[in-house]
Assembly symmetry: C2
Homo-oligomer: 269 residues x 2
């Protein structure tokens, strides 16, 4: 199976690396930015392509790994040459049918992971969710998927969008809570590292138990006096200390609101 | 060094287990609930005590590991026999000076960890924060602390309270986000397990990089159309589907607010 990748971001990079590691051929890397295309093509030991007219029509599969906004315009351009090829995108929040006006064979190939250049993901356990508009296309995606991870699932467009929402909560929002923790400690010159064993334990506990049964803390205990102490600190103390710094002053007001809302949600659940 | 433990909860249990593992003697477990006291005393191979009059005054250190609310009343009762002994509590949010009216030698011994009966914490890397009202007492706490963890730090009351606030964000609130993720998936019959690789990667990424530099997702990308799609789902869809279930209906309304507020905070940071 030969594959072409459209896009040069983190998903294109990590997915492309894994694809060639597993013995598939990446035929072309396609994108607008010539530097990025050249860089990724080199990483994937293949050729780059920055002109829509020069896209090879000889791959078995075309993976669109660009930002959600760009999917329609990229699809329109690709459809000029690839209308009858199998084309998928990797987005959690765009339906596969967004590709329908442009291609006869389409689907999605959604890796549920947070990709950064700096961090090498563990592909063995990385769930990939696929769907397609025909059994044949689905089987082709399954073939590729099973080669790069042990966790390949078929999932409808509607459910994938919901999965993406859950992923935003457990990944994007969790990471932001870590940033808030770091900000709070920074003011007291306490290194963020002291929180890491606690963070690791938070994750370790849900390996075998439900998050609900593992909930601890002032909100869970309805410990109103501690909650009020914490809110008072977030409200007064940090705002004062950052009074010459508008950006941080604003942050800490939101941190107060976040503490209050998440506490309310724990108490009412 | 012989130690008495007041309290029978998760902190008392795990701290007590670690203390005897490291060769110290737990002289007594003290509490109100005779069953719990008997159980913990057996776990720690020591005697239980449920009568304040029978508290042994022969320990070197008394660790109060009870809920924050109960610290003053417990201290009052203990002070009848232990006024001149070294007494500490394990609370993140109560000052050490809360013990001052009752004891001549006092301090705190705060393990920064989330303890559950079901999960065995990794004590080697568990930071413990201590302070005391004299150098001698501090050294005694340091001696004990260094025996049970490699991470023992002196920290003032004020800073410990701030540390506790940061801990609430990265632990209690993070765990609640996991619960929300699970709730959202439950409705679509998708098992929570598919999110675990993503959760692990979220944590792995902050091992060597700041959370700020690792932020990804629709809010970070200012991807308004995805954010609006997610909010619309949280607002309409889940409320409808739970319309016969008041408790869950309420939950999902809060989930909408949480999504909105955390997104705002990521965008404005």
């Amino acid at each position: 199976m030969t594959i072409s990748i459209i896009g040069t971001g983190n998903v294109a990079y990590h997915l492309g690396k894994r694809i060639i590691e597993k013995g598939f051929t990446v035929k072309q890397v396609i994108g607008r930015n010539s530097e990025k295309v050249a860089w990724l093509a080199q990483q994937l030991q293949t050729e780059g392509c920055i002109e829509w007219e020069q896209i090879s029509a000889h791959s078995d599969l075309y993976i669109i790994a660009v930002s959600d906004d760009a999917i329609p315009s990229v699809s329109r351009k690709l459809s000029l040459t690839l209308q009858d090829k199998l084309v998928v995108h990797t987005s959690g929040s765009i339906t596969s049918t967004a590709l329908q006006p442009f291609f006869n064979h389409f689907g999605t190939f959604y890796p549920l992971q947070t990709f950064s250049l700096k961090s090498q993901p563990d592909f063995e356990n990385l769930p990939i969710f696929i769907n397609a508009n025909s059994k044949e296309s689905l089987e082709q995606l399954r073939l590729l998927g099973q080669s790069i991870t042990s966790k390949i699932y078929e999932l409808s467009d509607d459910k994938r969008i919901v999965l993406h929402i859950a992923a935003v909560f457990v990944n994007n929002f969790t990471n932001h809570l870590f940033k808030i923790g770091q900000d709070i400690l920074k003011k007291e010159q306490i290194p963020f590292d002291v929180l890491k064993p606690l963070i690791h334990e938070t994750i370790r506990k849900i390996e075998y138990h439900t998050p609900e049964s593992m909930q601890t803390g002032p909100a869970k205990r309805r410990d109103i006096s501690t909650i009020e102490k914490h809110l008072a600190y977030l409200h007064d103390n940090t705002r004062q200390s950052f009074q010459n710094d508008d950006q941080n002053s604003h942050n800490t007001e939101l941190y107060y609101e976040i503490y209050q809302l998440l506490t309310k949600s724990i108490i009412e659940n």
